[in-house]
């Protein structure tokens, strides 16, 4: 582990992303060390989601380099799969598989990708369902669960792959207010009890203060500011970051 402590587990070098004429990411340079918790914030449309979606190749970057766990993302599909095995993702809309039970949602990846036996996959699934505090829902279908429960199942689904990195794409934005905390609690616990590298796109600044090692502020496709939370929340360098924080911290 000595080596990995000094080398970043995720590195983006001069990454650019275009949708036709529109530039969604501009000269992104970013490093995350193993075990680092990074919170990415910024106004909507600033490229936060695009940024993390490039890390597991849900979006293809147009220029620059993305290196994850020592592997550079390229056209090679085997390479992409190898990276996706190490990078879990939690989506804003949960994206659970509606035709499968909770347990089946959780065992599909481990059985098909990690080649676990059904029994191994199920016992692993139950472990992680305990972890997200809903073991009793294992045999229900996603539609029978509340939004907060669905998102916790989605987190467990990613965890069952035992990835080294977890990406969270606005995990609480689609939730009713009363369910936000149950999801955030699970995420805080993950951050505090595992050595997993986490990149979280969120507007939940309370969560950010609690767990973030690094805050990243983006605007118009560019990273405007990167700072540890103490500095970030008390004395942000850029005017735009200050304005953004004022807006979302008002309440």
């Amino acid at each position: 582990m000595g080596m990995t402590n000094t080398a970043p587990i995720i590195e983006l070098r001069q990454v650019e992303k275009f949708y036709g004429q529109f530039q969604a990411l501009k000269d992104i340079n970013l490093k995350a060390m193993p075990g680092e918790r990074m919170v990415v914030c910024g106004p909507s449309g600033s490229g936060k989601s695009t940024l993390i979606r490039c890390i597991n190749r849900l979006e293809e970057h147009s220029a620059g380099q993305i290196i994850v766990d020592g592997m550079e993302l390229s056209e090679d599909t085997r390479n992409i799969r190898a990276i996706r095995m190490e990078v879990g993702m939690v989506f804003q809309q949960f994206n659970l598989f509606p035709h499968l039970t909770v347990l089946q949602n959780l065992t599909l990846g481990p059985m098909r990708v990690r080649k676990l036996s059904k029994a191994e996959a199920e016992s692993r699934a139950l472990t992680y369902l305990e972890r997200v505090r809903i073991p009793e829902q294992a045999h229900k279908y996603p539609a029978q669960l509340s939004g907060g429960q669905q998102q916790r199942v989605a987190i467990a689904r990613s965890l069952c792959m035992e990835p080294r990195i977890m990406l969270f794409d606005e995990p609480t934005s689609a939730l009713d207010p009363e369910m936000i905390n149950e999801v955030l609690d699970v995420m805080v616990e993950l951050a505090q009890t595992t050595g997993m590298t986490m990149i979280v796109v969120t507007h939940e600044m309370g969560f950010a203060r609690k767990v973030a090692d690094t805050m990243v502020f983006m605007e118009s496709g560019a990273i405007v500011e990167t700072a540890p939370p103490e500095t970030f929340f008390t004395s942000p360098r850029s005017e735009r970051c200050r304005a953004f924080l004022n807006q979302i911290l008002q309440h």
Partner: protein
């Protein structure tokens, strides 16, 4: 709302169908009366089967029906397989595969099936050395594959992008993504349209009577040329097709229930 639900229920569909058929029959009967047509319904049962010296012998109509079922069954299965292949090619980003699928689609969709039957039997048949039964199966399969591929493609495209992304995020291969995530959901959207396609194949199989494949329509035609009972036999043949297609619809609606999302 309630009224339309009643009108669309299976039982009422059967009733509506029977009313229409009744009216047509009545009109035909009236027309035949005025033609001085000599009805001979009593001669029809023998074509279903009769007791001979060696026991019961099936008549030409059940034999024709059996061939129709075999012919359309094989054609439909083949059409689904081919249609799935075409749909995947069209959804893929393979340039050649995509172009190939598009050409097949357009050629088949824009040709009358009668012409296709002749092409398969008189042109491709001698070239590749297959008999009339094989030619019919291939013709029906290719024709319906083009239609089915559109149904499958639409079903697959209706699955939300998030499902693909979730599958990718747990590193499923494309094959596993289709098999475990996309198709089980798409099949629910595909089944209703597939029902009418299955029935469509069954009815379209009558066309191959033009190359004298011994199926139900050919059987009917042969009986008529022996007996001159056009009205009785064609009405009987129509009724047989009707019974089979209604049974098929009922079977498939059972399947739809089985695949419904459990809540």
């Amino acid at each position: 709302m309630n009224m339309s639900r009643i009108l669309r229920s299976p039982a009422s569909s059967v009733v509506q169908y029977l009313i229409v058929v009744g009216l047509i029959t009545y009109a035909a009967y009236g027309g035949a009366q005025s033609l001085g047509y000599n009805w001979q319904w009593y001669r029809v049962p023998q074509f279903f089967g009769k007791f001979g010296p060696d026991g019961f012998v099936w008549g030409p109509l059940p034999e024709g029906l059996l061939n129709t079922l075999i012919l359309s069954g094989i054609s439909f299965v083949l059409a689904v397989v081919l249609g799935f292949g075409l749909a995947l090619l069209r959804l893929s980003n393979l340039i050649i595969g995509n172009a190939f699928a598009n050409v097949v689609m357009e050629v088949v969709r824009n040709s009358p099936i009668l012409v296709l039957v002749y092409v398969f039997y008189y042109v491709l048949g001698p070239i590749f050395d297959f008999d009339r039964f094989t030619a019919s199966i291939l013709c029906l399969a290719v024709f319906h594959a083009a239609l089915i591929s559109e149904i499958i493609r639409a079903g697959i495209r209706a699955i939300k992008r998030g499902q693909w992304e979730a599958a990718s995020s747990i590193a499923l291969t494309p094959v596993d993504t289709y098999r475990y995530v996309i198709m089980p959901q798409a099949i629910r959207l595909i089944l209703p349209a597939m029902t009418s396609e299955a029935i469509h194949v069954l009815k379209n199989s009558a066309i191959v009577s033009v190359i004298a494949v011994a199926e139900l329509t050919t059987a009917g035609r042969n009986i008529i040329s022996d007996t001159f009972m056009s009205f009785e036999i064609w009405l009987t043949v129509a009724a047989i097709y009707f019974v089979v297609t209604v049974a098929l619809s009922a079977l498939i609606s059972l399947m739809e229930k089985k695949y419904a999302i459990r809540q």
